[in-house]
């Protein structure tokens, strides 16, 4: 009887350990941030997006097929709702030239388009992303109306993980002119670059 009980407890322990190991893998994956490039401290002069002169300007770079970015769009929606028009938002979806325009017409894009006041546009071959140093979907940059970089990073707590997070809190504080010590957060999402590419290479090639 005792042997059978011990066997059962051992089996239970093994099961627990294996399950825990699996969970660690998943949590690690979820908590592994994507890469970021060099984000300019000043709003680029030649940027195709016009800097808003009256309020802060927020640009999110997104991969139209990244499932993790759904959480980022959701958080953006929440953030803009709380910011109450104090931020001019743009969502830029990667549009490789080899794909038709339909490639970008995803549910994610439609979610972004449905957010009131958000400008949604394509980023042909990731040129704009490269200009702002964005390499991971869900990467957000925030500039004030003077063109100064206020914040850059992700607005989710993990990959595809909705909920409160420090990036969102920081942007909201900046938009409300509150002080925040957070100017940069990790970004969680799909890479905007192909796997074999490195940021040092020609980014345009890496998206092909």
């Amino acid at each position: 009887m005792a042997i059978r009980l011990s066997f059962r407890l051992a089996a239970l322990l093994c099961w627990l350990l294996i399950s825990a190991a699996g969970a660690v893998v998943v949590f690690n994956y979820e908590s592994s941030p994507g890469s970021s490039g060099s984000t300019p401290l000043r709003w680029p002069e030649n940027a195709p997006i016009a800097l808003d002169e009256n309020r802060d300007t927020l640009v999110m770079f997104a991969h139209p097929h990244c499932p993790c970015t759904r959480a980022s769009i959701g958080e953006l929606n929440r953030l803009l709702a709380q910011a109450a028009g104090r931020v001019a938002a743009h969502v830029v979806f990667l549009k490789p030239s080899e794909f038709s325009s339909e490639w970008t017409q995803t549910a994610l894009r439609r979610s972004a388009e449905e957010i009131p006041g958000v400008d949604v546009r394509d980023d042909a071959d990731g040129a704009l992303a490269r200009q702002f140093g964005a390499q991971t979907s869900g990467y957000v940059v925030l500039y004030n109306n003077h063109g100064d970089l206020l914040f850059h990073g992700g607005i989710t707590a993990g990959r595809g993980h909705a909920g409160d997070n420090s990036g969102e809190s920081a942007i909201l504080a900046l938009a409300e002119n509150r002080e925040t010590r957070i100017a940069q957060t990790p970004v969680y999402g799909c890479s905007l670059l192909n796997q074999q590419c490195s940021p040092e290479k020609d980014a345009a090639l890496c998206t092909k």
Partner: protein, 748 residues
């Protein structure tokens, strides 16, 4: 658990023990049921997780390249892993403590996975609370603790290592985990309260069920006891009915269905299991002669209500007849209509037969007493009559010897002689029917007896009656008094003739018969054995049962006054029964009559009858003879006859006087003595005489011996006897016969 613990079972309280047992059974049933519920839920969750992963994050992208998302693999494999053990245990070992705790842990792990797969949506967090609520189905607060611990450890560990994914901040204080766990504890607390309440109610239900079971067991025990008592009572009743041969029955008149007790079934010869017959069918067993009467009794009772009594016979399947004393009572409904009859049936066969036997015995006793009285009367009359007739006949005979044929007195003397003979015959008949006569049996052939009488019988019956004799050529011998047998044949033939006034056929038949079992007729039984049968049949008017019942009674006659004495058949009956035989009659009115006489067959040769000599010349002698006779007239007649025959005769008026002569040294060749005498009988005289002079020859004379000499009227063979009334010639012949028989024996 206080409420439950206070109901801990007591060794001496089986109800409490049963309550706990029922409670645990119910609890275990719920746990097993919940185990199986979770097995299904967890499989469903697993599939749901995979579907969610497929819908939300099927693939992950890197630029223009994509691959399967880790979430999908996690949903399949990690979800499968988390689901596998709890489901396995739920199906293989439901109800075990480890199973439900594994399920609780697995369910919480699954919650974490699902939350993760859905991107941490706040809605998915309700899975945790829903799971806790479903885990409460177990009604085991420890399971909730296990689940809560998993939730708390998850938050603590993730707060330590992946704080951003849980709290949305890069670094989270430890109390944040407590905040999250607090909500879980909040729910768990209420769930535990609910569980306690539920368990308490379960215990109350179990307690009620245990009480009901105890009550049911008590009732069943009582019913069982009552059933045993009832069966015992029924058994006793059945035994009592069997002993009393008294059964009960009931007739449902409306349904026409008869039910009965076991004894009634036996009494009416129904097979075991036969029940529910109609009353008509039940009546199939009633004797045909009683059927109509019994049915009428029941019909009348049904119409009038009340009770009834009906004795009837039943005929059993094996043909046996039983006599049943039936009683019943009609049960009326509220409209006074008969609905049922309940009754009893008692076998009174033995009682009735015993009563009949008693009645027959009483009749026989009465008949015996009657015969005894008549016999005593006859004996008394015969004794005196025979003395008188001896004197009358004797002197008449002497007178006839002295007058010649032309003498005018001769005719008168002959008339006296005939009257004397008729009176003697009548006296013999009186003695015969009362079985007081002295028989002198010998071995005879009945064929010879009847054959010798045939001529005389033909004359007697006349020409209108055809006499036929059917004799068995191998007929056996019987031992009987031939004279008496002739008397019997004569009487029966005369009766047959009188029964055929217009003529007819009279058959006399003899045959050997063997009776193989005891038979009884008119209270007389014949033992098994060989018999000689003499049958006398006529084709006359026959007899009714009433006549047959009184046929052998003395002075009973159907011939009318003056035509018969009523002694003929009584005489026959007396002679035959005295000869250890039996006479039986078979007759129907208009169909003639047959008398059958059965006499025991003997294995001896017939002895020749002594040749009767014509008494014209009296035999003479010179021997000395002592005559002992209290009747002086008889004594003088005998003395006169014997002296005239040359004998030397001495007289004695009684036995005392005779013994005095013997004691006086007088010796006699022959002592003739009466049997019935005052002071000392002839038999006693004989005994004393033999003591004194052993070889003295003795001749007894008597008209009635009263068993003094004979056993039931049959004379001892070594005694010499002469029946009164005797003629002088008969006396002289008998004396000569006795004296000549053993001449060397005299020692005077």
């Amino acid at each position: 658990m206080h409420e439950i613990n206070k109901h801990e079972p007591s060794v001496n309280d089986p109800t409490q023990a049963r309550t706990v047992e029922l409670f645990k059974e119910q609890q275990q049933s719920i746990i097993q049921h919940t185990d199986r519920l979770f097995a299904r839920i967890m499989v469903f969750q697993w599939i749901g997780g995979i579907v969610a992963a497929l819908l939300i994050s099927p693939r992950t992208w890197a630029g223009t390249q994509s691959q399967i998302h880790l979430h999908l693999w996690a949903a399949i494999f990690l979800g499968g892993l988390v689901t596998s053990l709890p489901v396995l245990l739920a199906w293989t070992q439901p109800g075990k403590t480890l199973t439900r705790h594994t399920i609780a842990i697995g369910q919480m792990l699954m919650s974490a996975l699902l939350i993760h797969l859905t991107g941490g949506r706040i809605e998915t967090h309700f899975h945790v609370f829903g799971s806790l609520a479903i885990l409460a189905f177990y009604r085991d607060w420890r399971v909730l603790i296990s689940a809560s611990v998993v939730v708390y450890v998850d938050h603590v560990l993730r707060g330590m290592f992946w704080a951003q994914s849980v709290y949305g901040v890069l670094q989270a204080p430890i109390w944040r985990s407590l905040e999250h766990a607090g909500w879980v504890i909040f729910e768990v607390t209420f769930l535990i309260i609910s569980i306690r309440k539920s368990l308490s109610e379960m215990f109350i239900v179990a307690e009620r069920q245990a009480n009901l079971e105890a009550m049911k067991a008590s009732i069943e025990h009582t019913v069982e006891q009552r059933t045993v008592e009832l069966r015992k009572s029924e058994s006793l009743l059945e035994q009592a009915q069997q002993i009393a041969r008294l059964g009960s029955w009931e007739w449902d008149i409306v349904a026409d269905k008869v039910t009965w007790s076991e004894e009634t079934r036996r009494l009416y010869g129904h097979a075991p299991g036969d029940i529910g017959f109609t009353m008509k069918r039940c009546f199939d067993r009633v004797h045909p002669d009683d059927h109509e009467r019994a049915w009428r009794v029941i019909e009348d009772a049904t119409k009038s209500g009340g009770h009834f009594v009906c004795d009837h016979r039943v005929v059993l399947p094996d043909g046996t007849e039983r006599i049943i004393h039936g009683r019943g009572e009609v049960i009326l409904d509220e409209r006074k209509q008969p609905v049922r009859i309940i009754g009893t049936a008692q076998d009174v066969t033995e009682r009735v037969r015993a009563e009949e036997a008693l009645r027959r015995s009483e009749e026989q006793l009465r008949q015996s007493q009657k015969m005894e009285a008549v016999g005593r009367l006859a004996g008394g009359v015969a004794h005196d009559f025979n003395n008188l007739l001896t004197v009358i006949g004797g002197y008449c005979d002497l007178l006839l010897r002295q007058v010649n044929g032309n003498d005018k007195l001769r005719a008168d003397a002959e008339e006296i002689q005939r009257a004397s003979d008729r009176a003697a015959a009548l006296t013999r008949q009186l003695l015969a029917f009362s079985r007081k006569q002295v028989l002198q049996p010998r071995v005879i052939d009945i064929n010879e007896i009847v054959g010798g009488m045939e001529k005389m019988l033909r004359r007697l019956i006349g020409e209108d009656v055809d006499l036929r004799t059917v004799f068995d050529a191998k007929l056996g011998q019987i031992k009987a008094d031939p004279g008496q047998m002739e008397q019997v044949v004569l009487n029966l033939v005369v009766n047959a003739r009188d029964a055929m006034p217009r003529g007819g056929k009279l058959t006399v038949e003899t045959a050997n018969v063997y009776i193989d079992q005891k038979t009884t007729f008119r209270n007389r039984g014949l033992d098994p054995g060989e018999y000689v049968m003499l049958a006398i049949s006529d084709t006359g008017v026959g007899m009714t049962d009433e006549v047959k019942a009184h046929l052998f009674e003395p002075f009973f006659s159907t011939k009318g006054v003056g035509k018969g004495t009523g002694l003929g058949l009584a005489t026959c009956y007396g002679i035959i029964t005295q000869s250890e035989g039996d006479i039986r009659v078979y007759s129907e009115p208009g169909c003639g009559t047959t008398f059958k006489i059965y006499l025991p067959r003997v294995r001896q040769s017939a002895t020749a009858a002594p040749i009767a000599r014509e008494p014209s010349d009296l035999p003479r002698g010179s021997e000395s003879i002592l005559i002992v006779e209290d009747d002086i007239a008889v004594r003088r007649l005998a003395t006169s006859v014997l002296r005239s025959c040359g004998y030397e005769v001495q007289e004695a008026a009684n036995a005392i006087e005779a013994l005095g002569l013997i004691d006086a040294q007088l010796r006699f060749d022959l002592v003739i003595t009466d049997v019935i005498m005052p002071q000392m009988s002839g038999k006693e005289l004989y005994t004393q005489l033999i003591d004194r002079v052993p070889q003295t020859k003795v001749l007894f004379i008597s008209g009635y011996t009263d068993d003094a000499l004979a056993h039931h009227g049959v004379l001892d063979e070594d005694l010499q006897f002469l029946e009164k009334p005797f003629s002088p010639a008969g006396l002289a012949q008998k004396i000569r016969e006795v004296l000549d028989k053993t001449p060397a024996l005299l020692a005077v």
